[in-house]
């Protein structure tokens, strides 16, 4: 993919991204993005696009959104200096704590933003998809907060491995629909949410949870998540006395990563996105879309996807439901193609090891998704000693307990230390 553009073209595209000119009016991030949706939804997407244009940066909407972020979500979230981890890694490690946001992950930033927009646009009810369940919980909570009924579509496989989140969604008043079609994970849940939307394009507002899908979703989600990177940048200056050398974030669809990276694009900071390396490098053994995928159209967007030679989308493998996705946000596809962000992967076992270390050294039970970013950061620190490292801690790991009980800690760090 890095050969897609000449150095000049890559620079021109990066400058445009930094100036805020991506996506363009057709929803394109360079060649990626666009709007590939059924004709029944075209008017709904046009209305949504108009609504986004009218409200998203309107001072009244922004005031309401910022107030909710502060009073209800609990922002700004902390930036934590990881003292013991820094010593162990021979680095200076800072953690942006989205796990401390209300409902336990960055997903809430986007969910409350879209719920406020849904209200303004007169939606009668909200639908959402969820993988790990964090976006489902966030949507259920946000809909309760603004007073809209909410239905969440969730793959049957994910319902099992993220059972605590299913109960939380019910408790928060949402209806949860198990999806038995397709791969029974996030991708099937998005397909099913789209099918539901097609039945009532006028009354339904679809709160999409990641920076994926058709325009204007990748744009809207980035704008709502950029608060992560804006806060982290300022906090690094205030608390660390300078910007990081490198920033890490895990990438499934890529909403927390684009939220962290977007406000840092213009800075001299190495940006590294970490995908799910699953159990190996073969097709179907991982969810490392950017590392091993090819361009194609999936769920509304021209982006990088995991597919076979016939254009059939492939199933993925990852221990983390939130990264278990065959596509990726189109803006990440561009940032990779122009060489601004380096996308690598961490395997299931490496993520589990990193999770264990973070628990032991910093008292933070992070999400399995986020653990991939820690695993990659640790390896980086070993190869590049003395660096100042920022890690986006996208969510907390409580939801992963059903999975984690299958992998008891190998060492009791606090006992052996």
């Amino acid at each position: 993919m890095s050969k897609m553009f000449s150095a000049d073209e890559a620079k021109r595209l990066l400058d445009a991204a930094i100036r805020g000119e991506m996506p363009d009016e057709l929803g394109r991030f360079g060649p990626f993005g666009g709007r590939y949706v059924p004709e029944t939804l075209v008017p709904a997407f046009e209305r949504l696009e108009e609504g986004v244009r009218q409200h998203l940066h309107d001072p009244a909407f922004q005031a309401e959104f910022q107030r909710e972020l502060h009073e209800w979500v609990g922002r700004p979230t902390a930036l934590t200096f990881a003292k013991r981890l820094s010593e162990a890694w021979g680095a200076e490690v800072w953690i942006k704590r989205e796990d401390l946001a209300h409902t336990g992950a960055h997903k809430i930033n986007n969910a409350i933003g879209q719920a406020l927009l849904a209200k303004r646009l007169g939606a009668k009810r909200v639908i959402a998809e969820t993988g790990a369940g964090q976006h489902g919980v966030a949507s259920a909570a946000a809909c309760a907060r603004v007073g809209l009924p909410c239905t969440v579509y969730m793959g049957a496989v994910d319902m099992e491995r993220q059972a605590p989140n299913v109960d939380r969604m019910y408790r928060l008043g949402a209806e949860v629909v198990g999806v038995e079609s397709g791969d029974k994970t996030l991708r099937a849940a998005i397909d099913e949410a789209m099918r539901a939307w097609v039945t009532d394009p006028d009354g339904i507002f679809y709160i999409l949870g990641s920076a994926v899908g058709a325009h204007p979703y990748p744009y809207m989600v980035r704008e709502l998540q950029a608060v992560i990177g804006k806060e982290a940048r300022q906090q690094m200056l205030d608390q660390a006395g300078g910007l990081p050398d490198v920033a890490f974030a895990c990438v499934g669809g890529g909403s927390n990563a684009i939220g962290l990276f977007y406000p840092l694009l213009a800075d001299d900071i190495e940006l590294i996105g970490v995908e799910a390396g699953g159990v190996g490098d073969g097709l179907g053994e991982n969810a490392a879309t950017l590392a091993t995928g090819t361009p194609g159209v999936l769920q509304g967007s021209y982006t990088i996807i995991l597919q076979d030679d016939d254009g059939q989308v492939q199933e993925t493998q990852s221990i983390s439901a939130g990264l278990d996705y065959s596509g990726v946000g189109p803006e990440h596809a561009l940032l990779q193609a122009i060489g601004r962000v380096n996308y690598i992967s961490a395997r299931n076992d490496e993520a589990l090891e990193a999770l264990e270390e973070l628990c032991a050294k910093e008292g933070i039970l992070t999400a399995l998704e986020t653990s991939h970013a820690f695993a990659a950061a640790r390896e980086y620190a070993q190869e590049n000693p003395g660096k100042r490292i920022l890690i986006g801690n996208s969510g907390r790991g409580d939801k992963d307990m059903p999975t984690l009980t299958k992998y008891p800690p190998r060492t009791r760090h606090h006992e052996s230390a």
């Binding site: 004709e39 029944t40 008017p43 397909d191 099918r195 097609v198 194609g296 999936l298 059939q312």
Partner: protein
């Protein structure tokens, strides 16, 4: 005559015999790839145009019936290339014009020029692509129209008038009027205000209009017949195949 003109002519001719033209849909290679060509010949002997579904891993505009058929066909190794090879092997034996229904990604992977080339050779006169709105369609449209193959536009009850007009004049072969706001195979019956909607579509269109989604019975087909030139029957026929029924008898019953 261009391929898409053949398509229009076949619909008009079918409709002229006192009923709507019948456009049966099957998922290619379902339920058994080995039976594909015999099933195709059977339904082509009753249908005025045959719509072939190309299986896809993410059929987001389709209901359970077509999803299921799509997954089974994929599991049994059906691919676009295989379908073209099969069609080539009976070249000249099927007069009925074919259209292909495919999501965009398999076509993108095949390559638009190679696609148009092979489609023309295989007797495919048009394409229906449920996840390709007109605004994103230029590259494919150019490749198809260079060979006279039509890109068939879909319109729905949710389509605003100005857009409806634009899509009707852009469509080639026929206009696909989706009868309901929903996915295929809904089975809730045809909406009450169908006549007004189809009349409006026809008034904007200089080529035949075929109605599809939710058409399951002879009375549905008859109801469509008074307002549109053609009736597309998909999920109901796929269910017949699923239950190992006789597709030819089912289709003949629809226009009896």
């Amino acid at each position: 005559m261009k391929a898409h003109e053949r398509l229009s002519a076949a619909i008009s001719a079918g409709a002229a015999s006192g009923r709507p033209a019948l456009v049966p849909f099957i998922t290619a290679g379902y339920p058994e790839p080995a039976d594909f060509l015999s099933t195709l010949k059977d339904i082509a002997s009753v249908g005025d145009v045959v719509e072939l579904g190309i299986p896809f891993s993410d059929p987001m505009a389709d209901g359970m019936t077509i999803q299921r058929s799509s997954f089974v066909a994929l599991q049994k190794g059906v691919s676009l290339k295989w379908i073209f090879d099969q069609l080539d092997s009976v070249s000249g034996e099927i007069d009925t014009p074919l259209v292909m229904m495919s999501y965009l990604n398999p076509l993108l992977a095949f390559g638009y020029d190679a696609l148009a080339e092979r489609a023309l050779a295989a007797g495919v006169c048009g394409f229906i692509i449920p996840d390709l709105p007109f605004e994103e369609s230029e590259d494919l449209r150019v490749a198809l129209e260079a060979r006279g193959i039509g890109l068939i536009q879909l319109v729905t009850p949710a389509t605003p008038d100005d857009r409806l007009q634009m899509l009707c004049s852009a469509s080639k072969g026929f206009v696909y009027a989706v009868t309901i706001t929903g996915i295929t195979g809904g089975g809730v019956g045809l909406p009450a205000d169908l006549a007004d909607y189809l009349k409006k579509v026809a008034s904007y269109s200089s080529i035949p209009v075929c109605a599809g989604f939710g058409i399951r019975s002879a009375s549905d087909v008859a109801a469509i017949g008074s307002h549109a030139s053609g009736a597309i029957v998909g999920s109901a026929l796929v269910e017949v195949l699923e239950e190992k029924g006789d597709p030819k008898a089912f289709l003949s019953g629809l226009i009896a």
